[in-house]
Structures are given as structure tokens and as C-alpha cells.
Symmetry: C2
Subunit: 347 residues, 2 copies
């Protein structure tokens, strides 16, 4: 008597899959089905990059992020610098000035101290550069094989400024969509480091602190900065889809205007990736009314991080909830949200 | 030609070891050698259960903790309820009223959704019971074998009350040392669940929200509550050693007064553990001036969690920095801090 065995693994829907951590549709589904029903409150329900609460008359933004990037070290940074940049940028995207950070480490038994030292040192340096104080922390150690080197959670506290509340639901038809720099560098840097690939030009992660750009946009357009978003997991495509859905608007991108470095484009072609879905860690998207687009671009370009800032599209009142790309050859295609991962464990 | 091979693993000092996560001497050493040098600031340097900062004239306590308990579910709770209790209790030990919580999840691919659902549901229930709002979260997924089911970081925000600032450095000679309930239940519950042991009486974790006890102590003794501490990792022995060191005082415990349930005592004897080093998650230590000991004990006993509250010792000006135990047979012994773990991954 023989037992029938399925030769390929069947995707089950009763277990966590890698795609649930992608920042795409599966992540959104997991959040909606498994987490939100247990935590009903108005602040969480807004699902911004950070939560905003009132403390004694001061609006305070709070954001948390756990970093599981693989490998731990990559061109342009390591998990320590990334853990600072990622969280302070989430605060900055709410318009908040980052001030405090907590850090929770899970270390795998056997992690070489020299790796840990480089990670913690980069973290300290990034915190100083961001002007934030790391004020409390926690360290746990698990047995060899029960983690992957280091995981770091950072939770950040930022202070909101009066009359400056960019949000994912505030994009309006007529807004210009700006991007502060070239796309796709973080994801490709991670991928090449992970797989030991070598391209002609080494691609470094763009991991950086975005608050200085936010300050400049605030000076240029104040309350008219409708929406800010750092397109990390899931890239520009996922970030714009979330904004289109939250604001109930359509977004039209103009392909030739999207700044993609030739090295990133070449790597994406070779690896079969679409650069619009590749993670960035030092780039922001800004939505401002069309008449403020040029002053805002000038403000961004005045900072080294924003030197290559560009206008890549506009908000439209047709196709609400949808992002379309006007291609170089005159066609259009829908830029949907991916269900799962192009690149797992990118941050 | 043969190569010499050492038959037993040598403890190296260039890698992370399990004991570095114990909450004992090795943890303290890791913190001092590897973390603090990179993050110099006055708030972090205080190394309390939580950091306290000023926001617009309101003192705010912030605490972070990552939970890696194994197994995920145990008698009396699971990693979800523990992740809420652990962090809100750290805030409460600073005298702060817990108000907000963030949660960062690392999920292992393949985790059954029914386990996740029970964890998240317990978390929601614990948050509601604690009166805290979970306002922001993050979820990452790593490949099978790169984590151990679920790790959860929670970071909590609490509001300090005026004139109520218990702290580890405020214990004074003449203080009575109170404990709010029987010791050792969490650690033994975890250990029996992990090893599949069965004792005559099932021992449940004491995991619980301690803030209601803190409120009662505040009502009874106000600013005279010198020190509060929840003796988690490393147990009562480690907590008292930290307080003795931070306050520069000696602590004398009276062994027959220490409430250790017979089932815990029996399990400890069988497993070779000292109950003073076993973790608790629903017990607090309080230091108050001797004349306030009875009113404070009465206040604790008026709450179900504090029913078995007891006075277990006193602060002395002899042997500063040292904890001694006056035994039942009239001797004394030093209760030192352990270097590493009795029980790894207890929280």
C-alpha cells in the first residue's frame, strides 16, 4: 500500500509565510485579519508611519520598527545604522522632529563581538547624526540557530510642529508627486551583498536621515506639504498605492521622469526586479500642490541628499485608489501592489 | 599527521554567549562594555527600569523590552500577555501610569496562525486590562529556522505623577523590604512547560499587571516609597543586588519570612534551583521607611494580587552593596548576583 505524497509544497493559509512580512498585500491582510481586531482604538486605526498622541498639549509621534535585514552588513551601512534611520525617518514622514529612541536587541548565541561592536557603533553614530538620544534599551540572547545574528527593534519618539501634519490621506488631485533622490539603491545593495553578486559599479545603500529634507519642505510649503512617505519595503509602487487608497485619489507617474540610476536599472534587469518595487532607505516622496512643486524641488536640491530630486507624477481624480505609469513609449500600465516579496528581509 | 582537537567547547570571550542575556553579571558586563560607550547621555546613564524625559512639562517614562520566552505558551499566560505585562510593569516600577504601547513582531515562517491568534488575542486582552492603548506596530517575517516562533518587542509610554519618583538608588538604611506575593512561579511554570515536567500541583506563572499595587502604595506612602522593582530575570536576588549597588546600602533578608510556595520550593529542590534567582512577572519589591511598612503591607493585601504580601528584610548601613540572608537556622549567607543564567529565555 502506498501513501500519496504531493511532490511540491502547497502554500497553506493556516501558517505564516515569508510574504506576510513583505509590506505588500499579504502584510496588509495579516494586519487586518490577525492584529487589528484585537487592538481597536482611534490612534492605531489611522495606520500612519507613526502614531500621534497628545502629551500635555504637545503632539507626540511614536513609531516602532524591527530590523531583520540579511546580511547584517552591506555597502553603505549595517543593521545598526539602518535601525536608526528607518525609525527616525518614519517619524519625519509624519512631520515630527525625532528626539528619543529606544533599542531592543535579540542576539544569537555565537555572534562575534566584532560584528556587534560595528553594529552598535554605527547605531551610536547614526543617532548622533540624527540628533536623537537613545535613552533606554534591552538585550536578549537566544540559542544558536534560534535567531539570525542580530535583530534590532527601535522605537522612536518625535515632536510634532504646529500646523504641519502631512499624512497618507491628505493627497489631493492637482498635487505634484516629488521624489527626493534616485531609487532602488538600498534593495539592490542588500541583494548583491546577500547573494555575493558583483556588478561593474558597486551600488551602496542610500540609507540616510531624511529629517533635514522634511525641514526644508516645511520651510518651503508649510501646511501645504500634504503627504510624505519613505518608500521602504515594497518600494515606490507600494507606498504610492497605500497613499492612493488612503486619500481616495489616483496617481499618474511619468516613467521617463523617475530617477533610476543606470547601475540599479542594470541590476534589476539582470535579477528580474522592477525598480519601482525595490526598497529605499534614504528617499522620500512628497505631495504638494502643483504651484509649490518648483519651490519644493529647489528646497530639496539645496541639500546634498536631495540633489537629484525630481517631479515624477501628479495626483488625478480619475481612477481613484489606483497608480498608473505613463511609459516612455506613450502607453500606460497599472502599477499594482505586489502580494508578497520581491526581496525578503530588506530591513 | 594529526590535528589536535579540543574535546570540549571552550568558552570564548569574543562571542556572545547565552549568559549575556541572563540579567546577571554577564548582562551587566555586556551593557557596560559593548553598548554604553556608544550612547552617552544623562537619561540612559541612569539605567532604571525605564527612562524618564520631559515632554512639555510632563515627565514621561519610556521602557522597552523584547520577549523571547520559550515555550510561547505556558500555564498562566503566553508571550503576548507577558509582552504587555513585562513592559507596563517596568513603567509602573518607575511610578508611572502606563498609557501607550507599541509592538514589534518577528514571526518565523511556518508559525501556525492559531498560535499567533492566541498570542495576539492575549496581548489585546492584557492591554485592555492594563488600561493601555497599543497605538503602533510592525511585523517582520524571517525564514524557517531563523527565529523561534515569535519574538515580540513592546515599548511603553507612561506618565509620571508629581512627587512620586521611586528609584533603584533611593533605598535608605532603615527601610523595610516588602514583597507583594509568593516568589518563583513564573520561572518554574516556564521550566516545567519547556521540559514537559509534571509536578503534583501545576504551577502557573504569576504574570500580571502591577500598576494597581503601585497606586495603592502611592496612596499609602506617597513620596516615601523609595524603591520599586519587579524581580524578573535573575529573580529577587539579582534585583536586590542591583538596588544595593545603586543605593550604596546593604540589604538583610530574613529567610523564614520570604514567601515561597511549597510547590515552587519542591520544584526548585528537584531541579537544583535557588528560588531567590527564579523569575517573577507579577510580584514587586517595595522599599519604604520602617514606620510605613505596616500601612503599606495593608494596602498591598487589600488587592487580590497582594494578598500574600510580606516583609522580607530591611536595609542596613553595614555591608553596603551586599545582600545577605539570615537563614532559618540562625546563620547568614551572602546572596550574590549570578554571573549567567539559571534559566535562559524566561521572558
Amino acid at each position: 500500500m502506498s501513501t500519496l505524497i504531493c511532490p511540491t509544497p502547497i502554500a497553506t493559509d493556516d501558517r505564516v509565510q515569508l510574504g506576510h512580512g513583505s509590506g505588500g498585500k499579504m502584510s496588509a491582510g495579516l494586519l487586518k485579519a490577525r492584529f487589528l481586531p484585537h487592538f481597536t482604538n482611534d490612534v492605531l486605526a489611522q495606520l500612519g508611519d507613526a502614531a500621534v498622541v497628545d502629551v500635555n498639549g504637545q503632539e507626540v509621534a511614536i513609531s516602532t520598527d524591527t530590523f531583520v535585514v540579511n546580511p547584517l552588513e552591506f555597502p553603505g551601512g549595517n543593521i545598526g545604522s539602518l535601525a536608526v534611520h528607518g525609525t527616525v525617518n518614519d517619524l519625519a514622514m509624519m512631520g515630527a522632529r525625532p528626539v528619543y529612541l529606544s533599542a531592543g536587541f535579540v542576539l544569537e548565541e555565537g555572534l562575534p563581538f566584532d560584528v556587534l561592536d560595528r553594529v552598535v557603533s554605527a547605531m551610536g553614530e547614526a543617532a548622533r547624526a540624527a540628533g536623537v538620544l537613545l535613552i533606554t534599551g534591552d538585550t536578549k540572547v537566544v540559542e544558536r540557530g534560534k535567531a539570525d545574528g542580530v535583530f534590532i527593534n527601535t522605537t522612536g519618539i518625535g515632536l510634532m510642529a504646529p500646523d504641519f501634519t502631512p499624512g497618507p490621506a491628505r493627497a489631493r488631485p492637482g498635487d505634484a508627486v516629488l521624489v527626493s533622490g534616485p531609487l532602488g539603491r538600498h534593495g539592490i545593495a542588500i541583494m548583491t551583498a546577500r547573494e555575493g553578486l558583483a556588478f561593474e559599479a558597486e551600488i551602496e545603500s542610500d540609507s540616510a536621515i531624511l529629517y533635514p529634507l522634511v525641514e526644508r519642505l516645511r520651510a518651503a510649503a508649510g501646511p501645504d506639504v500634504h503627504t510624505l512617505r519613505d518608500p521602504t519595503r515594497g518600494g515606490v509602487a507600494s507606498a504610492l498605492n497605500e497613499i492612493a487608497a488612503a486619500s481616495g485619489v489616483g496617481i499618474a507617474l511619468v516613467e521617463p521622469h523617475i530617477p533610476i540610476p543606470p547601475a540599479v536599472a542594470a541590476a534589476c534587469e539582470m535579477l528580474g526586479f522592477d525598480p519601482l518595487y525595490v526598497a529605499n532607505e534614504g528617499v522620500l516622496l512628497a505631495f504638494v500642490p502643483e504651484p509649490l512643486a518648483e519651490p519644493c524641488l529647489a528646497a530639496l536640491r539645496a541639500h546634498p541628499l536631495g540633489r537629484d530630486a525630481a517631479r515624477i507624477g501628479r495626483v488625478v481624480d480619475t481612477h481613484p485608489g489606483m497608480v498608473v505609469l505613463e511609459t516612455a513609449i506613450g502607453g500606460t500600465r497599472v502599477v499594482d501592489m505586489l502580494p508578497g516579496d520581491q526581496l525578503p528581509r530588506i530591513c
